[in-house]
């Protein structure tokens, strides 16, 4: 028999990792709910036609398709198979696929339930997604996304609230050096107008989006390859080099770009910042980054990205406004804005900086040593008392050697061990051992006193 293994790019989450993940998800959930977002879960499987055509050519190839059950060959496209056309053939043998993100299933949900949903609809969703990317360091085929979106409201108060959520979540997780980068797609549209490339916004944003990775020369090269002239590129470079305060940057755009679209973007940025400043932020810096582009085509207004300084990590969160998300399912003109937390990267930084509180771990709090059948009976009764008081308790199930039982308690990181041998039971007491300090205390009348002593010890 071959040794069992996991598919590449997937992971098990044992108790320690689960505890950490629950800590991050729990923090995110609490903040989402504080701002009026409500939970949604959609199935892992979606109809293939719900997903295809939504993520571009490249994305489509990374969607995991499910093979039809039963005799799938009977209805297969035999011509395509004979021709070796995998792509065409796949649609004849697969009707379902695994979700690729949480945004498209959310849009599908909104359209399917439009008559019952109270607008504006604020939902959050924390679920895994699947992508057939080549697995690598920090890149998985199954990973969680944590999204919050509002649809059916144009108000920029939503953008401001989402900025506050970034700040509150990351501050609650004790992450230092958080910078929330803000930009607006309308400013980028204005740039495209200014250089006379209105019809080429996609190529422009894709190129600018790479600035972080390839530098100005890289962007220059990219734009040249995509057919931009030297004069056009000079304007882009001018735009990318604008610096100074937020006001300086906004003024430069209003004056230089001479574009109504850009002016609208500038106004939106001003309004969002003004609304954020009403309460201020706890710890994060809010920065206007004109070079922030975000690859995704559907953004039309504000765009966000969050980084952590000195983490050596790219963006840990992102988001933006899209004016027509549900249009892909036939319902036009529903505007929305959403954000997403990158749980994997947040977990990596928190691990590196040791930011997880030690009491995050989920484990047994008290173990009773098992001395034999008669003593076990006494311990089972006493353990039930502790559980009734909410204490996580187990009785070691066999009268194994003491060393084995204590090794188990240590391996499981159990704080308290209770010993009730026949002598102790005879005089109506038990011994309580603090596993951190190795100190032992006798506890008399344990049915009355033990829970209290344990709670005291756990609180230390």
């Amino acid at each position: 028999m071959s040794k069992p293994s996991l598919p590449k790019g997937t992971r098990d989450f044992g108790p320690a990792d689960m505890a950490k993940r629950n800590y991050i998800f729990g923090t995110i959930k609490t903040v989402f709910e504080k701002y009026g977002f409500m939970p949604l879960e959609t199935p892992a499987m979606e109809s293939l036609q719900t997903l295809t055509g939504k993520y571009g050519e490249e994305g489509d190839q990374l969607i995991f398709k499910l093979l039809n059950n039963g005799d799938f060959l009977a209805k297969s496209d035999k011509e395509a198979i004979a021709a070796g056309d995998s792509k065409k053939a796949s649609f004849s043998i697969s009707k379902k696929a695994l979700r690729y993100d949480l945004t498209v299933p959310f849009a599908r949900f909104v359209v399917m339930n439009r008559s019952e949903i109270a607008m504006p609809f604020k939902r959050y969703q924390i679920q895994p997604v699947w992508r057939g990317d080549r697995p690598g360091k920090g890149r998985y085929q199954e990973f969680y996304q944590c999204d919050a979106d509002v649809v059916g409201s144009d108000s920029l108060l939503n953008e401001a609230d989402l900025v506050r959520i970034f700040d509150e979540v990351l501050d609650s997780l004790k992450l230092d050096g958080v910078v929330i980068k803000l930009n607006n797609r309308k400013i980028l549209s204005g740039l495209a107008q200014w250089i006379g490339k209105e019809d080429d916004l996609t190529n422009l944003t894709i190129s600018i989006d790479k600035l972080d990775k390839v530098g100005v020369e890289g962007v220059e090269k990219e734009l040249t390859n995509r057919g931009f002239t030297e004069a056009e590129i000079d304007k882009v470079k001018k735009f990318l080099s604008v610096n100074g305060s937020i006001e300086d940057k906004l003024n430069w755009i209003s004056e230089s770009l001479n574009s109504e679209e850009a002016k609208k973007g500038v106004e939106e940025v001003r309004e969002i910042i003004e609304k954020v400043n009403l309460t201020g932020l706890r710890a994060a810096e809010l920065e206007l980054d004109l070079t922030l582009a975000r690859g995704l085509n559907y953004y039309t207004g504000a765009i966000f990205e969050v980084i952590v300084k000195d983490s050596g990590m790219g963006s840990i969160c992102g988001g933006g406004r899209y004016d027509d998300l549900t249009g892909i399912f036939g319902w036009q003109g529903v505007s929305g804005v959403g954000i997403s937390f990158g749980a994997e990267r947040i977990m990596d930084i928190m691990n590196e900086r040791e930011l997880f509180p030690s009491d995050t771990a989920i484990t047994t709090q008290v173990m009773f040593v098992n001395f034999g059948a008669e003593e076990e009976k006494y311990c089972v009764k006493l353990a039930a008392e502790l559980r009734d008081k909410g204490i996580k308790t187990e009785v070691y199930p066999e009268a194994a050697k003491m060393k084995k039982q204590m090794t188990y308690a240590n391996a499981k990181n159990i704080s308290c061990v209770v010993m009730a041998g026949s002598n102790e039971i005879a005089i109506g007491e038990v011994r309580l051992k603090n596993m951190k300090t190795s100190q032992e205390y006798p506890i008399s009348s344990p049915f009355i006193n033990l829970a209290g002593s344990i709670n005291q010890l756990l609180a230390e």
Copy 2:
């Protein structure tokens, strides 16, 4: 554009359903952890070879296979495809599949991590599984399982704890009429010995397992079809008709079956019941049901099933001991015992009996009416104060008509609405509306007093 839809047998979980499910899962998790079980999550995708051959011929056909990404036809078994052999062909175009249950991934995890796991290993796992069953009422292609298992311990204290967990979870959920049915596979083996059909235990248990659905005549027919003689069937019928108290039944078996295996089963039943009785149960009845067989082949000791009287529903939980779970992955002789809660059926019964507490719902607690840009600024600041005190708060994002805003608050089941118009703000107060009673109160110095008034109103 075609209207979007969900694949058959799958469901979305909106806020109300999520709240109910979280309530059930939360209760189960709390009790699992109280007994020392720790969380595990495994990936949705497993290697196809991890799953195939584990669920019998029938089960194998219901496994959802994932089509290999990219040019899958290049490496396909062209002969099998030409021959129309879907089953054979599938293995050449699919390497991964969706998990079918939580038990096999758990066994895989244990074997892969055997050197790091402290035995006995107690884990729980609450995750969806996927099966290509024909969808129907209460039967889904994606559904949650909630499992707890102990491996690496033969002690029957584990069985007793699992019975206590059934009782405690279902009592916490306020389910009345819970019966925990207990039997032992060794008793069924003894029955097979007694009738001289030791090698035919599988056929025997499969037939007996159908008693609930088809009655004694049905079982008789089934056994005849499976090649049992009249004399053999008479003995089975005698066995199935044994009644009386638990002691009566156990005595009959010890005396009549004349089988060492059966006697061992009887002893185990006695010991489990004795260990359960040390603490007693909160509400459930514990019953010895000699006709309980459980279809799954891997059970070797105690078997459990839980029903709710007058629910018109089959079993809502199940479980049992298996002496060689990890053997399928090459690690022999690791005994384990586990249980599983059927969350869907529990949810159905609780819905029918209206057992969900009204405060389960996850929703905004306070909404600020939006009267315009200036008032909004004041509300945003006040809302931040409430959120800092943990109150779920939103400011309606636009100055829409009052009626629209109140309709939204009602649709979202928001308890409190705060109105701060320019007049109120000018005199330093706001109006708080209790949405249940429609009463309105003025609150002066709201930055100091509002949170307290709201908490009072929420606690009513």
